[in-house]
């Protein structure tokens, strides 16, 4: 994370407005700055990781207006006005999101570097409502690489939350 401040930005910087984890932020960003770099370097939100910087590993996954995206592939300027949720915004120790709880419960990580991306991706997957089986979870999570190979537990955790949310849905109906 870098302490880059507004003064060190080039004259090309443009003003944008983002809601990040529920807080409205008015920011100056250079047009070539990715959302990932903005989050990590300007906003100090280092939970989102840079695994490949090419949209190929999923470590940088965040939610943009509720949809998952590889933030290393998204230029921050084009998301002017968007609502961004990062792993930090999903929940913090003491007040964790059910998906975060499930990842702990199922030991769904080893080194943990892919974990924030996996969790953001999983939260969006549940909201998308298109995964109903383990096979579908695996298919729709295949953009998030875990080099430690914790896949069984990752899928277990997601299945767990999926089960809870469908039970909830049934209860509500």
């Amino acid at each position: 994370m870098s302490s880059q401040d507004a003064q060190s930005l080039s004259p090309a910087a443009v003003p944008i407005r983002l809601t990040i984890n529920g807080t409205e932020r008015r920011l100056q960003v250079e047009p070539w700055t990715t959302l990932l770099d903005l989050l990590r370097e300007q906003e100090g939100l280092t939970g989102s990781k840079k695994g490949c910087d090419h949209g190929q590993c999923g470590a940088c996954t965040v939610l943009i207006d509720g949809k998952r995206a590889n933030s290393c592939l998204v230029l921050a300027v084009v998301k002017d006005g968007a609502e961004i949720t990062t792993i930090e915004g999903l929940g913090q120790p003491g007040n964790l999101h059910p998906m975060q709880e499930a990842f702990i419960e199922h030991d769904a990580f080893q080194c943990g570097y892919c974990t924030p991306g996996q969790i953001c991706s999983a939260v969006a997957l549940v909201q998308e409502g298109r995964a109903h089986t383990r096979e579908e979870i695996r298919e729709y999570m295949s953009g998030n690489i875990c080099r430690c190979g914790a896949y069984t537990n990752i899928v277990d955790a997601i299945e767990d939350v999926l089960g809870q949310s469908s039970t909830l849905r049934e209860a509500a109906e």
């Binding site: 090419h54 702990i104 695996r138």
Partner: protein, 797 residues
Amino acid sequence: MDETVIQDRGISATFSRVPHSEPPHDGAIKGGVARSVKHDSAPRHVAGEAIYTDDIPELPGTLHLHLAMSAHAHAAILSMDLDAVRQAAGVVRVLTLDDIPGKNDYSPFFGDDPIFPEGLVQYVGQCLFAVAAESREAAFQAALLAKIEYAPLPAVLTVDEALAADLDLLPRHEMRLGDAAAAIDAAPHRLANTLHMGGQDHFYLEGQIAYAIPGEGDDMFVYSSTQHPSEVQHNVAKALGIADHSVTVEVRRMGGGFGGKESQPALMANVAALAARLTGRPAKLRLDRDDDMVMTGKRHDFRIDYAVGFDGDGRILGAEFDQAARCGYSADLSGGITDRAMFHADNAYDLQAARVTSRRMKTHTVSNTAFRGFGGPQGLLATERMMDEIAFGLGLDPFDVRRANYYPAEGGKVTPYHMEVTDSVILEMMDELAESSDYRARRRAIRAFNATSPILKKGIGVTPLKFGISFTTTHLNQAGALVHVYKDGSVHLNHGGTEMGQGLFIKVAQVVAEEFQIDLDRVKITATTTAKVPNTSATAASSGTDLNGMAAKNAAGAIKQRLIAFAAAKYSVPEEQVVFLPNRVRVGNEEIAFPDLVQEAYLNQVSLSAAGFYATPGIHYDRETASGRPFFYFAYGAAISEVVIDTLTGENRLVRADILHDVGRSLNPAIDLGQIEGGFIQGLGWLTTEELWWDKSGRLRTHAPSTYKIPTANDRPDDLRIELWDKGYNKVDSIYRSKAVGEPPLMLAISAFSALTDAVAAAGGYRVFPHLDAPATPERILMAVEDVKTRVRALES
């Protein structure tokens, strides 16, 4: 199975689980040994709060570094004009050979890894110079302005080319047991063949990174994502021309290592420290992913030629293995890696007579390095191929041929390096797994399926595993730990091991909690730093827990002994009557809470801090005679895999894998199961999808996950059943009789490779044995199928 649907998902997972954190049954501590305690960083991992090196808040003035890379595999550098680089916007300093005050080397030992080249480059991607700038982007853009004049030289790129050119990097080595050639000649059956196997990129999800902060005088503090802080420390000191004591290296955790952060991080740390020294500013070097894949060493690819003589039951009478490895341009750790390949040529089999030779070939490619298994997987793969081929030739079940050759449980047989195998449990494990996985019936069913399925073919493969535990360089088998007990009874734990996700920190903390009989949350796990525990070995060779666990136990034990002596004297009871109970100590008839006893001891001037040390006893290896006892013990594993291939496309799937693994008495079953599954999946990647491909000019063309296929959630077997072997027990006095688990499970994936070979053989009606090299990508499978069919047609005409 529907002929048209290869993506059949089979049965869903039935992954065996161990219940979490013991019910706090009265009196027991929370989180001692043998419990499935959560990873210590769990709550921080899921909240994005776990700090990795790149997440450490940067100090004001921090510079960013970029390394410029050679465009040629082998060339003399005639000139480097860096004026434009120096003048580029944002550039603060350009670092070249002339700027190094100490030694221009970041090698672990041999002095042959220049930080910056001295007139010669030896692989595409070799570091040429570094740019320190206000931003990473500025450093990168500036480096493009360099004008480098090369005079290309002939490049040797592959093992076969190096063998043809007789280009050995390191001396050859040979192990002999009896007269293998004579045994093979006299055997009723003989066969010989060759197997090529590819390397593997680590693709630790967190890439290489170092962050150096200059201190007063010579002092340098370096955060490094490294499995080997002591070596990074020594390397930085060497490059800066200062004493080791001026350099402190720290790492709290890595985002994966897998061996790729053993020797490689020294380059990043050296350059960052050099920039920090020259500019007086903090300096950070984080490799871009593609650069990381091009610049840093990988698993060695091998060519192994084997010859074997055997009887009609498949009992081996003698075997010869000629191993040749692509080491790349420098020695790095290749000596130890190629040794370990030799040490595993026997796998779990009593070869009776053996000759194993090893050639360590020099090539103009990146210097290959440690990768989970450290040569063992390569040695083993050829042997397993050989077992399949013997079974095929005799028309026997490969399970039975292997079974006829295991080291006996009662001992008495020796390896090709003359070590008696006294702890062999492989026969029992394999029999158990065959039973629980219904192997025999499934093999019959597969044969029946194949008889009526023209396009899809199934295969099944078995792999027994014996893996030697210890650094084969004997002196490395040592570790240190530092334990403080504070006045409130809380404990600070530090040791030389590093955490890369394997769960080392929590296991060692469990050991300390157990020793003091205090709840695990009273033990604070702290970052690895050369300032607290010096002269450590790399966290490698699966030895992290064995060594550091023992050292920590010794440190805690020393403090405990002082507390016992103090309590005995103070309360006038014999020492035997001072007993550590959960969170309290019984002294005679009285029970004292642990913190209270600690407080009393402090007031009575008892030292509550201790350094612990451990060295593995009784291991040695003599290179001259190629004999000794290089391993403290062996870890065992058993795997059976079932695959299906599409003979028209080469597409394939692992549909089921059954694994039984020996971790002795597990320190933490949840962590161990994770290691087994993760290792297996990584092995699967190595053998089926991960293909490193260099073009004719020596450029790696698979340098990103777009072209280099790493297993995803979807590549995991549809049905994966993993069990810890419940009879597991370490015969030697290891930490709580556990066994190391980091590397061995990777090799269990060889069962999938065997299964693929079996499926390809089915495409030719089991008439000819397939030629299938690793990795068995769809392309290779398709070519092997075509080859098998051609050979069968030739037989028929």
